[in-house]
């Protein structure tokens, strides 16, 4: 920023040749020929302030030219350490390091002033040495590019006495090593914002307040210096670093700063790690630092004799300091008395409750570590406003914003105004404790959040805040108010006693510094250094630093609290605001009962509200404040404690149907009892019911005996009829005499869903989860076999994969869910509160189901391993090949195929949903026939053959066996009848196509996840609503979006470009150094790589991870030159869906459809 009257540009590019140094200052670009010092104090040299005693030293000077300033600074009289520090903080605004170096050297080597007494001259020399050290401390990477500066410095150091020489050399090379080689820096230019944290290490050196020269100089003046040393020692943030400070030799200040930087980095990497994508960044930043170090190591050892020594020395230091993460300097865990609450409730391990006081303390301890790491150099030329500089200030800023977002996240993640009010009160109390601890930075963080529009707009929540908390809040606001230039806050800070530790609000200091820096011209009076400016800046900086360097907090860090705070997810500002909107809409829909509402809402009879209540209680565990309920709530701070359970999933719709849900579903249901052997559903039939096995066993079979499946108590089947009207692929036969089924009509369920959206959502989510499990199974089953064998084996499996295998998974997943709900107690299916004797029954179910699940798994494995019969290969002769032969759409799948003769040609007859196709070969003549069912007017069984009448032509197909014929006849007639039936008229497809369910912003290119013919999918508007919360990300070719095995909770939708889903990606294939990791080459021939599918615009992925726990089962790699995706955060979806009961079932249904179709695709892609 330009300031009026500034003559010299503030940033002098020191890397450019020093001869370009600006002219107005006494130009010293060449080694000074004339000795510039000891000129008389006249108007051309120095201007004093009127009315100030000149003995005040620098305070009395208004401005002077540079040599005069150096002269005054190095005089033993009025030596002002703080002023000197301020000078080195600001000198780059008006001169170059080279010039100062020259001046300092000539001052050191030149004759003493006439006025100087001998013993004072000794001290002056000490001061000059100190200043030489200081200037070395400020050198940055650019300076080390300046060979002249380096040479001059080295030459000078060589001329010094032995002990000082070594000391300075060491400093010089260490500073140089810490500075980044510029070519590395250019490589580091990365589009990701977080790399700003990586800064040139040189700038972190605290050169002034930690400078601790070994002066054995006479007189009391050394007290200042030793005093400073003491201060510095006490200021170390953590016990370890303090020790290190004291144990390391005193001039090692740059190393100490390195160590303290490490400490803060430890916290920062923790802060950043939960943010998903940022993890890699922080890792890579450390990695790159290492590489920088090693490379610069080489350069330094080549340039100077002692460089090698210092290099190795420092490297070992680096290693030793590396494990000094916060967890190490934390004392062994001690049970804090507060961990047991007053009423004697033991604090459980899983959900630890913390008092606001404890949180305030831990925040303070952590913030103190961060602020203690600050060094003066970072403020020079407002380095924090530039990228990749001032790492410690950047850390503080990142921290500040993160804690603030954390507060908002905590509040927003609560579902009811009552809960939110409790959290808000808790944070008001935390802020108040922080204020008592004089951690004003923390107070500001919390106030920043509470005043954030996402939080302050929650009027209903604020209305429930107790008067006492309200009072506290307004008093905090008054104290921290920006009014009248933070009058109250500044006053309060000035009253902080030097013996108390304090963490000031960093933002205000930065504003002050900006104004001091920009509004005071560095040069005045035609080129004189504005000494007043240096003085003002020095004063303010000293004021700021002494608040936290004089003494430190003597709390023990509490590892659990720390982990709990750092481990939690944080939503960004836009996300919180969106959720806040949902919360408020939510509030307005339901009437908010202002009094203690515990009883009234639970007594409401509506299903949706009661089931939502149930979910609420199961999901609201993210942060709970115990011991408080509704009207009994008192305004006492100690009553609120927060519990953290790490990354709990945010509230979402239950993913399995509870017994209670089933009771509702089956109100109108028929209970059917079957004897053994009774056919319930026949192959080819279109099922319109949902079945649930109550007792006994049901067999699913088709022609292939290895595909026979059994369903037992609690399993459901027919649920896929809610997605597609597809004919059955299996015969369903009761397998025991006591077989009892509940049959629920689809139409009834759909009616029910219309009035019970939450039930619908749960149901569809249930189906979606089943589909996801199935897909996962397909993937895992496929991956365990290889090449040709896999193909045929998958072929076998694929046939059952189509429509009915999902009920098999039904049992699988239900048992999984049941067991998981038993173990974790999370929102599972079992509701022990349900009035009937469900609980004992449930356990029996779960055990029997796990058995059946095991059976199923075994069966699957067997079926995969079994050598397929020729008919299987023919029949499964991959749907896609079949489709391409006949030019059919992907919707068409082979229901059944038979070997039969037509016009004397032996071939295969395929039955699909809409067509009857025949393919045969006769002496090399390829015969293909395709008949749409609509055109068939008559189907008649004859002896050994079926005759079809189309367009008055009769076609005959003779079958091998009578069984085949009757089965084929059964299937064909059912399909045929359906085509003339009323239920599924083709117009439905057309009407649905009018409002395509694809998201509105996605172009329909290629194979998008669009489904025509299925009703109740999200509408355009609803997609818009969902996508409002989406972020757009772009990736380049070869970048890996999702790595196999990683956990994430997002749904992506491609808007532009293509990507590939890959199975079997090894760590070795991944180029982890890049960020995001890239794959070096997309070699399809790689033996372990299986490309499952290509996704293009409109497709979604990530839905499996959204529905199922555990890591991703596949990797997703960008395949086109550029890929653009929308990213929907899982928690956002969950909350959004929870609060929009009408949208949720549609969305889950959509997911189920996507998954269902994907199962097919993956199967095909492997086969092909």
């Amino acid at each position: 920023m330009e300031t009026t009257g500034k003559i010299v540009p503030p940033i002098i590019n020191t890397s450019s040749s020093s001869t370009t140094t600006t002219t107005t200052t006494t130009s010293q670009t060449q080694p000074p020929v004339t000795f510039p010092f000891y000129k008389p104090d006249d108007e051309t040299q120095i201007v004093y302030l009127p009315g100030v005693n000149r003995r005040e030293g620098s305070l009395a000077i208004k401005c002077c030219n540079l040599p005069k300033l150096i002269e005054k600074m190095t005089q033993s009289l009025n030596y002002d350490h703080y002023f000197t520090s301020a000078f080195f903080l600001t000198f780059r605004d008006f001169t170059t390091p080279l010039e100062v170096m020259h001046l300092l050297i000539s001052r050191y080597t030149g004759p003493p002033a006439d006025s100087s007494k001998d013993h004072l001259r000794l001290f002056e020399i000490e001061i000059e040495i100190v200043q030489n050290k200081q200037i070395i401390g400020t050198l940055n990477d650019n300076d080390f590019q300046n060979t002249e500066l380096c040479n001059v410095t080295i030459e000078f150091i060589n001329s010094l006495a032995e002990d000082i020489k070594n000391e300075l050399f060491l400093m010089f090379f260490r500073a140089r090593k810490l500075a980044k080689p510029p070519h590395q820096q250019q490589q580091k230019v990365s589009p990701r914002p977080h790399t700003t944290i990586i800064s040139s290490a040189a700038s972190t050196m605290r050169f002034s307040f930690s400078v601790s020269p070994k002066t054995q100089s006479p007189n009391g003046t050394s007290n200042v210096l030793t005093g400073l040393l003491g201060t510095n020692g006490a200021s170390g943030g953590s016990p370890n670093s303090t020790q290190q400070l004291q144990s390391s030799s005193s001039f090692d200040n740059n190393f100490n700063n390195r160590a303290s930087m490490k400490v803060s980095k430890g916290i920062m990497s923790k802060i950043l790690s939960p943010g998903g994508s940022t993890t890699n960044l922080s890792n890579s930043s450390i990695g790159s630092n290492n590489s920088n170090n090693s490379s610069s190591n080489g350069s330094s050892s080549s340039s100077g004799g002692s460089g090698g020594l210092s290099g190795s020395h420092s490297t070992s230091m680096h290693i030793s300091s590396a494990p000094m993460s916060p967890s190490h300097n934390v004392q062994p865990h001690q049970q804090h008395p507060n961990n047991v609450d007053d009423e004697g409730y033991p604090v459980s391990n899983e959900k630890t409750a913390f008092l606001p006081e404890m949180i305030a303390r831990e925040l303070t301890v952590m913030e103190f570590e961060l602020i203690s790491a600050l060094t003066l150099n970072e403020f020079s030329q407002k380095a924090w406003t530039k990228e990749n500089q001032a790492i410690n200030i950047q850390n503080l800023i990142v921290w500040f914003n993160r804690i603030s977002s954390w507060v908002s996240t905590k509040i927003i993640s609560k579902e009811t105004p009552e809960e939110r009010a409790i959290i808000i009160e808790a944070f008001i109390n935390i802020a108040n404790y922080a204020k008592e601890l004089k951690n004003y930075n923390c107070v500001m963080e919390i106030l920043g959040s509470l005043h954030n529009s996402s939080i302050s707009r929650l009027k209903n929540s604020w209305a429930l805040i107790s008067p006492k908390a309200n009072e506290l809040f307004s008093s905090l606001n008054t104290v921290m108010s920006p009014d009248i230039n933070f009058k109250m806050y500044r006053k309060m800070l000035s009253l902080v006693s030097p013996s108390e530790p304090c963490i000031p609000y960093v933002g205000l200091f930065l504003t002050d510094y900006t104004y001091l820096d920009e509004s005071n011209p560095p040069l005045v009076n035609g080129g004189m250094v504005n000494v007043e400016r240096i003085y003002l800046i020095g004063n303010r900086v000293q004021e700021f630093f002494q608040l936290f360097t004089n003494c430190s907090y003597n709390f023990q860090s509490q590892p659990q609290v720390r982990e709990a705070i750092l481990g939690e997810k944080v939503w960004d500002e836009n996300e919180t605001f969106r959720l806040s909107k949902i919360r408020e809409e939510h509030n307005n829909n339901g009437t908010v009962s202002p009094s203690g509402s515990g009883g009234s809402s639970s007594s409401s009879s509506s299903l949706s509200s009661s089931s939502s209540h149930h979910h609420q209680s199961s999901s609201g565990s993210n942060l709970t404040v115990s011991g408080v309920s509704g009207s009994k709530r008192k305004g006492f701070a100690s009553k609120y404690r927060m519990s953290f359970t790490g990354n709990d999933p945010p509230p979402s719709i239950a993913s399995a149907l509870s017994e209670r849900d089933w009771k509702i579903l089956s109100t109108n249901a028929k209970v059917i009892k079957h004897k053994k052997g009774k056919k319930i559903l026949a192959m080819g039939e279109v099922n319109n019911n949902l079945y649930r096995v109550m007792t006994g066993r049901v067999k699913f079979e088709n022609n292939a005996p290895e595909e026979t499946r059994y369903l037992e108590c609690g399993d459901i089947f027919g649920e896929d009829s809610f997605l597609y009207d597809r004919p059955m692929l299996f015969n369903v036969i009761s397998d025991s005499d006591d077989c009892e089924l509940v049959e629920i009509e689809k139409t009834f369920i759909l009616q029910l869903f219309a009035s019970e959206p939450i039930l619908a959502a749960t149901y569809y989510k249930h189906i979606a989860v089943l589909m996801a499990e199935r897909l996962k199974f397909v993937l895992s089953a496929n991956s365990s076999h290889e090449s040709i064998q896999t193909n045929s084996a998958i072929g076998t499996y694929s046939h059952l994969g189509n429509s009915l295998s999902n009920y098999g998974h039904g049992s699988l997943s239900t048992s999984n869910l049941l067991s998981s709900s038993n173990s974790s107690g999370s929102s599972g299916g079992g509701s022990p509160s349900s009035p009937n004797s469900a609980s004992p029954k449930l356990t029996s179910i779960s055990s029997s189901q796990s058995m059946s699940a095991m059976n199923l798994m075994d069966n699957r494995r067997k079926s995969v391993a079994i050598e397929p019969s020729t008919i299987d290969i023919l029949r499964n002769g991959n749907d896609s090949r079949f489709r391409s032969t006949f030019g059919l759409s992907t919707e068409e799948i082979i229901i059944k195929s038979y070997t039969c003769k037509h016009n004397g040609i032996t071939g295969t007859l395929y039955i699909t949903k809409h067509h009857l196709c025949f393919e045969g070969k006769f002496f090399g003549i390829h015969k293909q026939k395709m008949n749409p069912f609509e055109k068939i007017t008559k189907i008649l069984p004859e002896k050994g053959a079926l005759s079809l009448t189309t367009n008055d032509k009769i076609k005959k197909f003779s079958f091998k066996s009578q069984e085949d014929l009757s089965e084929a006849y059964g299937i064909m007639t059912k399909i045929w009848k359906n085509h003339f039936g009323i239920v599924r008229s083709p117009t439905k497809t057309v009407s649905a196509a009018n409002s395509p369910p694809t998201p509105p912003r996605s172009p329909k290119i290629g194979r998008g996840d669009s489904f025509t013919g299925i009703s109740d999918l999200p509408s355009k508007e609803e997609w818009a609503q969902l996508l409002k919360g989406a972020k757009t990300l772009t990736f380049k070719k070869g970048e890996i979006l999702v790595t196999e095995g990683t956990e994430f909770h997002k749904i992506f939708q491609i808007t532009r470009g293509e990507c590939t889903i890959i199975k079997g990606l090894n760590q070795t294939d991944i180029n982890t150094s890049a960020n995001p990791p890239t794959i070096s080459s997309l070699s399809l021939g790689h033996k372990n790589l299986t490309i499952l599918a290509k996704l293009s615009a409109g497709s979604i992925f990530g839905e499996m991870n959204f529905l199922l726990p555990g890591g991703s089962s596949t990797s997703v790699v960008v395949n086109s030159d550029e890929l653009e995706v929308y990213t929907l955060e899982g928690y956002f979806l969950n909350i959004m869906l929870k609060s929009k009961p009408l949208l949720a079932p549609k969305f889950y249904k959509y997911l189920a459809c996507v998954l269902e179709s994907r199962v097919k695709q993956y199967r095909q892609s492997i086969v092909v």
Binding site: M1, I397, F400, N452, D483, T514
Partner: protein
């Protein structure tokens, strides 16, 4: 009549010259020494259209990266100066988001605001044309647009004067005076929940002014007659 106070927040990316504008306006003259830590550093008394006003400027300079503090700063202000630098594209492109945030915080579409293209003295390095600025101001609902230079003292005072006029237009009485309490009809026997205190209201007429202390709070009233009110005073 007491001096009316105007709180103005200056926003914009780092390095656009916010502080220079502020200092130029507050100090009026070129200074060699400016201490930003004293009370009056950002206050100035001016006369606009015959009325004496006290201007207090809250500048976010130096804290641009403290995104968590923006809302708090914005809440504090009545009028906003959005500053970009005519020699920097990025500073220009960040303004729409800032404006959105202001509207969000103020929960209102009509917020007194002035768009400023600073550093217009550096015309030879210009990358944002005057027309682009005009266009953005149109997008901002026709807010006032000025190109200014703190260095050459171009349009500096106009920015703040215009903002004061805008605030005056929007809020003629002044925000410092208490807004009138609304009249609310309570039914006999209405129970007032107010900060946990229960008051039974036994009035059956329009209250002329129902003063609730302290300041702006929601109160929730339940009457026995199936009426539920949320009243904001």
């Amino acid at each position: 009549m007491p001096l009316r106070e105007f709180k103005i927040v200056v926003l914009g990316s780092g390095g656009v010259g916010k502080s220079a504008l502020t200092v130029q306006f507050v100090q009026g003259i070129f200074v060699e020494k400016y201490d930003p830590t004293i009370e009056d550093s950002y206050r100035k008394q001016v006369e606009v259209d015959g009325n004496q006003c006290m201007l207090e400027i809250l500048d976010t300079a130096g804290t641009e990266q403290f995104t968590a503090m923006r809302d708090l700063y914005m809440k504090n202000g009545q009028g906003f100066v959005l500053v970009y630098s005519i020699i920097s594209n990025s500073t220009f492109n960040e303004l729409p988001d800032l404006r959105e945030q202001i509207l969000r915080v103020k929960d209102c579409d009509d917020v007194p605001m002035v768009l400023v293209g600073n550093k217009c003295d550096l015309n030879d390095q210009r990358v944002i044309s005057n027309e682009q600025g005009e266009e953005l101001s149109r997008k901002f609902g026709g807010c006032v647009f000025l190109e200014a230079s703190a260095k050459n003292k171009i349009n500096v005072e106009q920015i703040f004067y215009d903002l004061i006029r805008q605030i005056n237009r929007k809020n003629p009485v002044g925000p410092s005076s208490k807004p009138k309490s609304k009249c609310v009809l309570f039914y006999i026997g209405a129970v007032l929940y107010y900060c946990g205190l229960i008051t039974i209201v036994t009035i059956d007429y329009y209250c002329e002014s129902w003063l609730i202390e302290p300041n702006d709070l929601n109160i929730i009233i339940i009457s026995r007659y199936e009426f539920l009110y949320f009243v904001k005073f």
